[in-house]
Structure formats: C-alpha cells, structure tokens
C-alpha cells in the first residue's frame, strides 16, 4: 500500500469516527422522551360505563363496551391501519375508522376495509360494582 493511500485511509477512519461520535448525541436527542405511563390496573365504576365509555389506558385511548348478551369488553381505540381513533357506532354495533373506513366488530376483529389486524383487547375483570382494567 502506498503511503498516500494509507494516510487517506487513516484520515477517513478517524474522520468517520469523529463524525459518528458527533452525530450520535444528535440522533439520540431526537429519540422520543420517555412518557410517564401509569403502570398497573385501572378501576372504573360499572355504573359509569353505560353502553360504552371511552377511557385512557396507559396513555392509549381505549373503549369499554357493554355488548348485549356477551358482557363487557375493553378494546384499544387505535385503528391498526394508520393509527386514527375509532368511533363506536351504537346502532350498528361496530367500530368505524373515520380516516379510511375500516370497520371492526365488537370483538375487535376486522369486518371490512384496510386494517391489517384486529384491535388489541385489554384484559378486564368485573369485581362487584367495579371494573378492573389491565
């Protein structure tokens, strides 16, 4: 190897390391700050729910629905297509995405439209007059 190309190579390596070590803090700075997530369970009075109630579970919008004949279910309201929030259609008993018309049934499964997968079902337990989510 010639001295000139050796020096060029060394210079390129040192330069890349220097540039990388300067770029790293800037890229790390762009990482989203850790959001405070309320860990654990959440309790709601059963009487507060009615047919359906929108809640915030661990910083994610969710909904508790009282399904006729099937009992309560807690679902994430975030559409699995591109993240819009679903609306509950009480008449037709389904969840509709206002963005691209994705439709989910009350089990959280896709009925029609572009969503690729079912909604996240959040564990739910009824303890007397309280509903414990999570």
């Amino acid at each position: 190897m010639q001295r000139r190309s050796f020096l060029s190579m060394i210079f390129a390596i040192i330069g890349s390391i220097s540039l990388g070590s300067l770029a790293y803090p800037f890229l790390k700075y762009l990482a989203p700050p850790k959001a405070e997530i309320k860990a654990g369970k959440q309790t709601i009075r059963k009487s507060d729910v009615g047919d359906a109630k929108e809640i915030l579970y661990q910083n994610t919008p969710a909904i508790i629905i009282d399904r006729p004949g099937k009992g309560l279910i807690a679902l994430s309201r975030v559409c699995t297509h591109l993240g819009c929030l679903l609306d509950y259609d009480k008449q037709k008993k389904r969840l509709i995405c206002p963005c691209h018309a994705g439709i989910f049934n009350l089990e959280g499964r896709v009925v029609s439209g572009p969503p690729p997968k079912s909604l996240t079902v959040i564990p739910l337990k009824v303890e007397g007059e309280d509903i414990v989510i999570g």
Binding site: P25, F26, K28, Y29, A31, P33
Partner: protein, 364 residues
C-alpha cells in the same frame, strides 16, 4: 459509484468546471495569515448555532409558564440535551469573540480601505446583528439573569428624550418584561434575525470574492499601488489557489474552533452559566449582582460611570456610527498602521479602555 455520480453531475451542472473556476482558479495572496480565516470560522460558528438552535426548538416552549422548565428538561431529561445546549451557549460566546477578533485584525491591517468600504460596513452590521442574536437569545430561558438583564437593556432607549419611552415599550411589548416580550424576542431570535444575518453574510462574501482577498500591509507583495478608478479584481504578485491551499488552512482553524468548544464544555462547563441563569425568573426580586454577558460589560460599566443616561448612551451611539462608517472618514492611501502612529495610538488606547471597562464591569 462515485465516478458515475461525478460524471452525472458533470454532465448536468458542469461540476468540474464550477469547482475549477470558483475554487481552484480563484487566487489568494500567498502571504495571508491565520487572521484571514477568522471570517469563515465565524460563519461555521453561526452554522453550529443554527443547527443546535433547531434542535433546541424541538423541546423549548416560548411561554412564561414553561420556558424555564422546558430548558431544564432539555438539560436534565432529554438525551444529550445538555450537550446541544452547551454547544449553543459556548459557540455563541465564541462567535462574538470571533467577530471582534475579525474586525480588530481587519482594522489593524488597514484592510477596510478602498475598495473594501462596503465589505467593512457589512462586517460591522454583522457584529450588531450577532449582538442582537445574543440579546434576544438570553431572555429565552426565562431565568433571573434573562429577566433582569433584559429589563436593563430594554430600558436603555428611555435615555432618549420624547421617543425613548415609546421605543422601550415597543421593544418590551408593554410597560414591563412579560410573556409578550418573550414571544417578541423569540420571534426575533428564530424568525427575523437569521435571514437578515444570512443576507448580510451573502453580501459580505460576495464582496470578498468579487474584489479579492486583501493583502497584509506589511507583506512583501503589497497590493497594486495604482489608484482604483474603475473596478478590477485584485491581482497579486505572489499567490496560490484558494483550493486546496487556503481551504486547508480554513479547515484546520475550524477544527481548532471545535476543539475549543469541547474543551470549554469539558473543563469549564459553568463559564457562561452563572447562578442567576439557573434560577427561574422572579419579577419581584432583582438578584444581588446582576451582570450582563462579557461583551456587554464595557457599555454597562460606562453607563454606571456616566451619571447622565442620555450622555452615556449618546457616546455609545456615536462610537457605533463612527466604527461602522470609519472607512468613509479614513480615506488616505496609507494602509500600514505602523506608519500611522496617531491612529495606532488611538486604536490601542480605545482597545485598552474597552478591556479595562470590561474587567472593571466584571469585578466591580
């Protein structure tokens, strides 16, 4: 692959031709010294400020209730937020120092003379814009220092009769420093001043490029001696290409700038952050020893020494105008300051007074 990209660019924009005509064929005098690189180093410092500034904007909230806490959040919670803010602070102080050094060296070498009067004027305006950047920037953290230093500065126009009060209130957006002042200074700092600065820099660089780099008056190859009666690009008895010779000199000075920034951040992290800068603004309590930044200490001390506010501020305004338009007063041909003892004496005395007032202001 690089070869292909180069060929493609050559075909479309004539890259080789552009590099040859504007960098390799552009000549600079062979006896330039490191002071000739200070201009570009200052510009790099400005770009460092711009990049770190954009990053700070992502988390900074320009509201009196959140400004201080958002800056503290950047310093303590956000990954490497402290580093980005420290680079911004240190680079801003170094930038002011660099503009001062640049102007002093140009003055000392007499390079403001014909045909470079407009270049000097643009440089002087850049110093004023830089100081405005600093002034508008240090209110933003909404700390005790921010609040009270800005209170003092925004009250300076009250020294002028008739319009003074009105001017001060326009600057503050009211009778006192408030949320309106904060948003005014914020918009000035991030929206108004950057394009103004870049426009003046554009003019400055265009003139330096168009006329050609000046030659030190004490060098062997003094610039052509015939009087300038029509435009001509400066030619030199001895010169070398801008690229790579002068370019490498500039790169090494830029590296030195980075080294100094990281040296200060590593070993003197609190150099530009006094106690009052870490305390939230309290409009009901002026801190015991509130002092402006080092570059405002000389005018600050002068205002303390001269009891008549109008007289004190008038001297400073006259000084600024004399400084800006100096090339139009000093029109003689002699560039070498050593052959002009009166000017050199006045220059050294003024510089000494400035240093003395700065130290006096700092330790009084």
């Amino acid at each position: 692959m690089w070869q292909k990209i180069r060929e493609g660019l050559n075909l479309r924009i004539g890259l080789t031709d552009l590099v040859d005509s504007s960098l390799k064929e552009h000549r600079v005098p062979s006896d330039t010294n490191i002071f000739y690189t200070i201009g570009i180093v200052t510009l790099v410092a400005y770009f460092i400020m711009a990049v770190t500034g954009y990053f700070l904007l992502m988390y900074y909230v320009p509201h009196t209730d959140h400004a201080f806490s958002s800056v503290q959040n950047i310093m303590t919670n956000i990954s490497f937020g402290w580093l980005i803010r420290m680079i911004h602070i240190v680079a801003s102080n170094l930038m002011v120092a660099l503009v001062f050094i640049h102007l002093i060296s140009i003055f000392f070498m007499g390079n403001y003379k014909k045909p470079r009067e407009i270049t000097w004027l643009a440089g002087g305006l850049l110093l004023l814009v830089t100081l405005l950047f600093c002034l508008s920037g240090y209110l933003l953290p909404w700390s005790q220092r921010s609040y009270w230093a800005t209170t003092i500065v925004t009250n300076i126009p009250t020294a002028f009769p008739v319009v003074g009060e009105y001017l001060a209130n326009v600057l503050k957006g009211g009778e006192a420093i408030s949320g309106v002042t904060l948003t005014r200074f914020f918009s000035l700092h991030v929206g108004f001043l950057p394009p103004v600065f870049m426009a003046i820099v554009g003019l400055h660089i265009f003139l330096v490029w168009r006329i050609g780099l000046s030659v030190p008056p004490f060098s062997k190859s003094a610039e052509e001696e015939k009087p300038w009666t029509e435009y001509s690009h400066t030619t030199y008895a001895e010169s070398y290409p801008f690229y790579p010779h002068f370019f490498m000199k500039e790169v090494s000075m830029v590296m030195l700038l980075f080294a100094i920034i990281f040296f200060i951040i590593s070993f003197f992290p609190t150099m530009f952050i006094p106690e009052a800068a870490n305390t939230p603004a309290d409009p009901f309590k002026t801190p015991a020893d509130i002092k402006p930044e080092w570059y405002f200490l000389a005018p600050y001390q002068m205002m303390k020494l001269i009891p008549n506010k109008f007289f004190g501020i008038s001297i400073q305004v006259i000084a600024i105008f004399t400084f800006l338009f100096w090339p139009f007063f000093d029109t003689g041909d002699e560039k070498n300051i050593i052959k002009r003892p009166a000017l050199m004496g006045a220059f050294i005395i003024l510089l000494s007074v400035w240093f003395a007032l700065t130290f006096w202001g700092r330790y009084s």
